[in-house]
C-alpha cells in the first residue's frame, strides 16, 4: 500500500508502529497518530457518509470540530462500542477496532445514497412540508420511517461496563487551550505563584505550535521552545497540566465542566481504571485561549472526499508527518493557506496551484510561490469538483465584476480550502457574554463580559504566533492582577512568524445554475447554500429560524464550521448586515460528551443512596423481599418456601393478629423537640392540643400545611415537660424537620425550642399481637409495663434486654403493640434476642406490606397514600385530631376557607366489593353510574386496597366526592380490563371497630 508518510516530519513515534482496523481492514500507523492521520497516511480519505443524503465524505479537519469523519469504535471487552467518535480525536492503539457509519452495505457503496438523487425532496424544511399530508399517515407511516432513518451511527446495545469518575477542583487561574497564548498565560500566571490549571483537549499541548515547527521563539525552534515551556510548567508545583481534557461548559461564577479522557487511547486498560473523569472546576479567573476555527468555502462539490481545510492539511503534515495528497490545489481567501502550500511543496508534494479569491495578495507570498514553482490564480472562484469517492479535479474560473468567466479544470488529489478564520467563542457564549461584530474582519469578537474571564490570542481575532504569545502573557498577567497579585511581564522574541490576513465570503460566485449547485454549508446535516436562501425566501428572518428550518448548525459539531458561513449567506439573502440577522446560541457541551461522564460514580450500587436500617442485614439473611420507601429499602415481606407475596402477607397478618409479629420500624422519622417553650411550639405546629399531655404519655399528632391540607402524622411522646419525642412518616422526616425549623427560625424566633433529628440514633422495633407483652416483659427493667401501669399511648425510659430504651405502647395494627427504641448499634442484637425468645409464640417477622394491610383493616391512614396534598383532616375523617379550643395552629385558618367548607369535597370512605374475592386496583377511578355516556364523571379514586386475611374478604379505602353522605351507596370501579366492579361505601374501620383487641391483660 502506498504510504503518504513523510520522513523527517511529524511528531509521531515512528519507532512504535501500531496496528488497528477500520471497516475490518487492517492498517498501520504510529504511536501518536489519530485514526484520521493514520488512515490518511494510508491514502484513505473516505471515512463516512453524510446524515441526510448519505454522500461519501472525507475528513475535513484535524481537530474536534470534525463534522464528517465520525466513526464507531470498539474497545476490548463486552459492551465497549461507541458511535460518533471523531476520527480526528481518537488516538490509535494496538487492537483498536473502528468502523465507518451511516452506510449500508458498505462505505464505498451505500444504498442510502438514493436520498442524494432525491435531494429535491429533501430541501430545507422538508420535514415540515413532505410529511404534512395525509394527516393519518403521520403515526402509521411517516414517523416510523423517520425514526428508523434518524440518528447518526448506531446506539450501543449493552449496558456501559465502564467506570466514570468525578472530581471537584478549585484554582486561581484556569487556562483553556494550550496553544501559544495559553502557554504564555500559564507561564505568566504560574511564575507568579498562583494555582494554575492548564487544559487542552488534545493528547499533547502546543496547539498551533505543533503545526508550525518552522517558527522560532526566543532563539529556539518552536518545538524545542515548547518542550522547555512544558518542562518549566511541570516544575512549578502550583501548575497542573491536563491533556485530553475538554472544557465542555462554562457555568455561573467561573464554574467550568471539564471532561478528561483517561483510557480511550490505551490498549491495556488497568482493572478498575475510570474511562473518563468529569472535573467541576471553580476558578477565580479564567483565560480562554481556544484559538480560531478555519472556515470552509461554499462551492459546488465542496464536500467530495479530498476537499479539506488547509490548516488541517498543515497539521497532518507537520504534526503527524502525513501528506494528505501528492498533487493538492489550494483554494483560499486567507494568507494562511499559502503557507500550507509551501510546507506541502517543501515536503515533496506537487502543489498544482494556489487559487485565491482575492485579487491582491502580499508580494512576499507570490515570491515564495514562484520560488517553489507553484502556479497562482488570483481573483478566481471555484465552481465545481470532479470525483465521487475522491476529488479528481477542481473547476476554477476567473472572476471579473462579480461574474465568473471560462472554467478551467485543475487535476488534483486534494483541495485544501481556507475561507478565513472564526474566533472560537463557544465557551464565552455560555457565560452570556456579548459578542461584538467586527465589520472589518467580518467576525464576532468578545464584547461585554459577565464573568472574571480574559480572552487571549486568535480567540479575539489576533493572528500570528508572536501576537498570540504576547496576548497570552498579557491575559495571564491580567488574571494575576485581578487576584491582587503582580506578574512579571513576559516577552517573547519570535522570528519566522507567519502573520497574515484574509477575507471571508458567502458562497463563491459561479457560472452555472446556482439552483443545481450542491454547495454545502453544514457537512454533517447536508445543508446547502441553496437551502439557506430557500429558507429566507420562505419567510425566515432570524438566524434562529433559518437554523431550525434548515438544520444548519444543529449537528453534533454545533455548527463550528457552518454557522458563520450560514449567517453570511442568510444576511446576504436578507440584504442585512450579519449582526442584524443574529447569531445562534452556543450551548454546552462544547463537544459531544458521554452520558457516563455526567453520571460519574452514580451507577450500579451507587446509582443513588440506598439507606439501610440496623436490622436490614437480618432481613436479608432471612429471605426478605425489599421495597424502596423514600431513599430507604425496607423489608416488604418475608416469603417462606413456595410462598408468593399474597400467601406470605396473609400468613404474616394472621400470625400477628393471632399471636405475635415483629416489625422493623427504624425508618420512622424522629425529632427531639426540646426547650422551655416546647409545648407552645407543639401547640402551634400540630393540630392537636399538647398542654395537658402528661409526661410519659403519647398522642397521635397531625401536621397540616398552612393551606390546611395534611402533611404528616405520627405518634408523639412526652419525655419531660420540656421534651417531646416526635415521630414522623418515613418519607416525611426531612420535610417535617425543615418545616419546623422554618417556623421556629423565621416566624417564632422568640421561642426557646431546639430541634434535633434522632431518626438514626434509634433503631425501632415494633411488637404487635396478643402475646406482645408476654414476650417483652421478661426483657424490661426499670419500668412496669403491665396493662394498668402502662396503658395504651404511653412511653417510658427503661432498659430492654439491658439496652437503654425509649419504650412506647402504641399500635398501628389494632393489636396490643409496643415500639422499642434502642441506640442504633444495638438494634440488631435486640431483634435477635426478641426473635429467639419469641419462638415460643411463633413470632412472625413481617414487612411493610403486612403493616399496610393491618393498618388498613383499622382504617389508619398513610399520609401520601390515602392523602395527596388536597386532603384536610375532615376529609380524611380525622377531624377529632384537631384541638378545637386552640386559638391557632399551622393550617387552622385554612380550615375555614370557602373551598374547604364547601359541600362535595372528596372524603375518605371504605369500599367493600360486592364479590368479597375481588380486590380493587389502587389508583382506579370511581364512577357512580357505569352506564352514563362517556366521558364519564369521575368522582374519586381508590387509595388503598388489600386482601384482608382476618376478614376473609377484600377491603379498600377511597376518596370520593361527598363520600360521607354516600354510606351504603353502590359505586363502580373498573378492573384491569375496564369492567366495572360494584362496591358499597362503608366506614373505614373494617376490623375490631370497638378497639377491644388493644385491651389485652
Amino acid at each position: 500500500m502506498t504510504t503518504y508518510r513523510v520522513n523527517g516530519r511529524g511528531r509521531v513515534n515512528t519507532g512504535k508502529p501500531v496496528t488497528f482496523t477500520f471497516d475490518s481492514q487492517t492498517y498501520q500507523g504510529f504511536e501518536g497518530d489519530t485514526v484520521a492521520s493514520a488512515l490518511l497516511a494510508n491514502g484513505v480519505h473516505l471515512m463516512g457518509r453524510s446524515f441526510k443524503y448519505h454522500r461519501p465524505r472525507g475528513v475535513v479537519t484535524a481537530s474536534s470540530e470534525e463534522p464528517n469523519a465520525l466513526i464507531g469504535t470498539t474497545r476490548a471487552g463486552e459492551g465497549r462500542f461507541e458511535p460518533n467518535t471523531r476520527a480526528t480525536m481518537q488516538e490509535i492503539y494496538p487492537g483498536l477496532t473502528a468502523e465507518s457509519q451511516n452506510k449500508w452495505p458498505s462505505l464505498k457503496f451505500d444504498l442510502g445514497a438514493i436520498n442524494d438523487r432525491l435531494y429535491m425532496l429533501f430541501s430545507a424544511g422538508f420535514y415540515y412540508k413532505t410529511f404534512m399530508w395525509p394527516r393519518s399517515f403521520w403515526d402509521s407511516v411517516y414517523e416510523p420511517i423517520i425514526r428508523k432513518a434518524a440518528g447518526l451511527g448506531k446506539a450501543p446495545t449493552h449496558v456501559d461496563p465502564d467506570i466514570y469518575a468525578s472530581r471537584y477542583l478549585h484554582c486561581d487561574v484556569l487556562i483553556i487551550g494550550s496553544g501559544p497564548s495559553g502557554i504564555a498565560a500559564a507561564l505568566a500566571a504560574g511564575r507568579a505563584g498562583s494555582k494554575v490549571v492548564l487544559v487542552d483537549e488534545n493528547s499533547e499541548m502546543g496547539g498551533t505550535l505543533l503545526s508550525e515547527p518552522s517558527v522560532s521563539i526566543d532563539g529556539q525552534p518552536a518545538w524545542e521552545w515548547l518542550e522547555g515551556a512544558m518542562a518549566e510548567l511541570d516544575r512549578l508545583p502550583n501548575v497542573t497540566r491536563m491533556t485530553r481534557t475538554t472544557a465542555i461548559g462554562y457555568y455561573h461564577q467561573n464554574m467550568i465542566g471539564l471532561v478528561q479522557k483517561l483510557t480511550d487511547h490505551i490498549a491495556d486498560v488497568p482493572d478498575g481504571a475510570p474511562r473518563e473523569r468529569m472535573w467541576r472546576l471553580r476558578a477565580k479567573e479564567v483565560v480562554l485561549a481556544q484559538g480560531a476555527i478555519e472556515r470552509p468555502m461554499v462551492f459546488d462539490g465542496n464536500d467530495v472526499p479530498g476537499v479539506m481545510m488547509a490548516g488541517a492539511a498543515q497539521t497532518f503534515l507537520n504534526r503527524f508527518g502525513v501528506l494528505v495528497g501528492r498533487e493538492p490545489v489550494v483554494l483560499t481567501s486567507h494568507d494562511s493557506a499559502w503557507y500550507t502550500a509551501f510546507d506541502m511543496a517543501d515536503a515533496g508534494a506537487k502543489v498544482v496551484a494556489i487559487v485565491d479569491t482575492r485579487n491582491e495578495v502580499a508580494q512576499a507570498l507570490k515570491d515564495e510561490a514562484q520560488k517553489r514553482g507553484i502556479k497562482t490564480h488570483l481573483g478566481y472562484t471555484a465552481t465545481g469538483t470532479k470525483g465521487r469517492l475522491r476529488v479528481k479535479a477542481l473547476r476554477v474560473n476567473p472572476v471579473s465584476n462579480g461574474k465568473a468567466g471560462d472554467a478551467t479544470h485543475l487535476s488534483c488529489d486534494a483541495v485544501l480550502v481556507c475561507g478565513g478564520w472564526t474566533p472560537s467563542l463557544h465557551l464565552f457564549s455560555h457565560t452570556k457574554g456579548s459578542l461584538d461584530w467586527d465589520p472589518e474582519a467580518k467576525v464576532y469578537l468578545p464584547g461585554h463580559k459577565t464573568e472574571d474571564v480574559h480572552i487571549a490570542g486568535a480567540g479575539r481575532g489576533l493572528w500570528g504566533i508572536a501576537a498570540a504569545l504576547e496576548d497570552g502573557a498579557k491575559a495571564g498577567a491580567e488574571a494575576i492582577g485581578s487576584l491582587g497579585g503582580k506578574a512579571d511581564v513576559v516577552a517573547f522574541e519570535v522570528t519566522a512568524d507567519r502573520t497574515g490576513t484574509g477575507i471571508t465570503q458567502k458562497e463563491l460566485p459561479t457560472d452555472r445554475s446556482a439552483g443545481k449547485a450542491k454547495a454545502f454549508v453544514d457537512f454533517q446535516n447536508d445543508v446547502t447554500a441553496k437551502d439557506i436562501r430557500l429558507a429566507v425566501r420562505e419567510g425566515m428572518r432570524s438566524i434562529e429560524h433559518v437554523k431550525r428550518y434548515t438544520t444548519n448548525g444543529m449537528a453534533t459539531d454545533q455548527g463550528k464550521l457552518s454557522n458563520m458561513n450560514g449567517l453570511t449567506i442568510a444576511s446576504d439573502a436578507l440584504g442585512k448586515e450579519a449582526p442584524q440577522v443574529g447569531l445562534t446560541t452556543f450551548r454546552p457541551p462544547y463537544t459531544p460528551t458521554t452520558f457516563g461522564a455526567f453520571a460519574g460514580y452514580h451507577k450500579g450500587a451507587h446509582f443513588e443512596v440506598t439507606r439501610k436500617t440496623p436490622i436490614d442485614s437480618w432481613a436479608e439473611e432471612h429471605g426478605a423481599e425489599f421495597e424502596p420507601v423514600a431513599l430507604w429499602r425496607r423489608a416488604w415481606y418475608f416469603p417462606q418456601a413456595g410462598e408468593d407475596m399474597h400467601k406470605a402477607v396473609a400468613r404474616e397478618c394472621k400470625s400477628t393478629r393471632e399471636s405475635l409479629g415483629i416489625f422493623d420500624a427504624s425508618t420512622l422519622g424522629k425529632i427531639e423537640v426540646s426547650g422551655p417553650d416546647a409545648t407552645e411550639f407543639m401547640n402551634r405546629m400540630y393540630t392537636n392540643p399538647w398542654t395537658k399531655l402528661g409526661v410519659g404519655r403519647a398522642r397521635y399528632g397531625l401536621l397540616l400545611g398552612e393551606d390546611g391540607f395534611i402533611r404528616d402524622d405520627g405518634v408523639i411522646g412526652r419525655m419531660r415537660d420540656d421534651l417531646f419525642h416526635v415521630t414522623t412518616t418515613t418519607g416525611g422526616a426531612p420535610r417535617v424537620l425543615n418545616m419546623m425549623e422554618d417556623y421556629l427560625q423565621t416566624e417564632w424566633p422568640d421561642l426557646k425550642v431546639w430541634l434535633t433529628s434522632t431518626t438514626e440514633e434509634w433503631a425501632t422495633i415494633a411488637l404487635n399481637g396478643p402475646n406482645a407483652r408476654k414476650l417483652l416483659e421478661q426483657f424490661v427493667e426499670g419500668a412496669d409495663i403491665s396493662a394498668e401501669a402502662f396503658p395504651h399511648m404511653s412511653v417510658v425510659e427503661c432498659t430492654v434486654a439491658g439496652f437503654p430504651s425509649r419504650l412506647f405502647r402504641i399500635s398501628f395494627t389494632g393489636e396490643l403493640g409496643f415500639e422499642i427504641n434502642v441506640p442504633a448499634r444495638h438494634g440488631k442484637a435486640l431483634w435477635e434476642k426478641l426473635w429467639e425468645a419469641g419462638q415460643q409464640y411463633d413470632i412472625c417477622p413481617y414487612g411493610t406490606e403486612t403493616m399496610h394491610v393491618l393498618r388498613a383493616e383499622k382504617g389508619f391512614i398513610i399520609v401520601g397514600q390515602d392523602t395527596d396534598g388536597t386532603v384536610t383532616p375532615q376529609d380524611a375523617g380525622i377531624g377529632w385530631a384537631i384541638g378545637k379550643k386552640k386559638p391557632d395552629f399551622v393550617g387552622k385558618r385554612s380550615l375555614d376557607r370557602p373551598d374547604i367548607v364547601a359541600p362535595g369535597r372528596k372524603q375518605l370512605i371504605g369500599l367493600l366489593t360486592e364479590d368479597p374475592k375481588t380486590v380493587l386496583i389502587e389508583g382506579a377511578q370511581i364512577v357512580d353510574d357505569p352506564k352514563q355516556p362517556k366521558p364519564m364523571k369521575m368522582i374519586g379514586h381508590v387509595t388503598s386496597s388489600y386482601w384482608s386475611e382476618s376478614l376473609g374478604r377484600s377491603i379498600a379505602m377511597a376518596v370520593v366526592e361527598g363520600g360521607f353522605d354516600r354510606m351504603e351507596q353502590t359505586l363502580y370501579v373498573p378492573d384491569a380490563n375496564g369492567t366495572p366492579i360494584p362496591a358499597k361505601v362503608t366506614g373505614t374501620v373494617f376490623y375490631d371497630p370497638a378497639g377491644d383487641r388493644l385491651k389485652v391483660e
Binding site: N738, D742, R893, S894
Partner: protein
C-alpha cells in the same frame, strides 16, 4: 452551580449546601383568624414572580442550617446580596447598576 454567601457562616459556599425556600418577606399574620378569606388567600398563594431583583429565602440546609434572605436577579441568576432572616431588605440600587 452557584456560589452563595451564607450571612450566618459569613462564607461563600457551593449551591449544593443550600436549598431554595420561596419568596422572602411574607410574614405569617399574627392572628390569622382576623384575616378575610381574600387576605388569607393572598398570604397563602399570591407571589410576585419578579423579572429582575427578587427577594427570596434560602436555607443553608447542608451547612449551618439557617434560613436567610437573598436578593437575586432572576434574569442573570446573580445574587446581589444575602442577609439574615428578620432583617429589612437592603437597598441595592448600586449593586443593580453594576449588574
Amino acid at each position: 452551580m452557584l456560589l452563595i454567601h451564607c450571612p450566618y457562616c459569613d462564607d461563600t459556599l457551593p449551591e449544593l449546601e443550600f436549598a431554595y425556600a420561596g419568596e422572602a418577606h411574607i410574614a405569617r399574620p399574627e392572628d390569622p383568624s382576623k384575616l378575610s378569606d381574600e387576605e388569607w388567600r393572598d398570604f397563602l398563594f399570591i407571589r410576585t414572580n419578579v423579572k429582575g431583583v427578587h427577594a427570596e429565602r434560602w436555607r443553608h440546609i447542608n451547612g449551618c442550617g439557617r434560613f436567610f434572605n437573598a436578593l437575586r436577579d432572576t434574569v442573570s441568576d446573580r445574587f446581589l446580596t444575602t442577609y439574615k432572616a428578620g432583617e429589612a431588605r437592603p437597598d441595592t440600587t448600586d449593586l443593580e447598576a453594576a449588574v
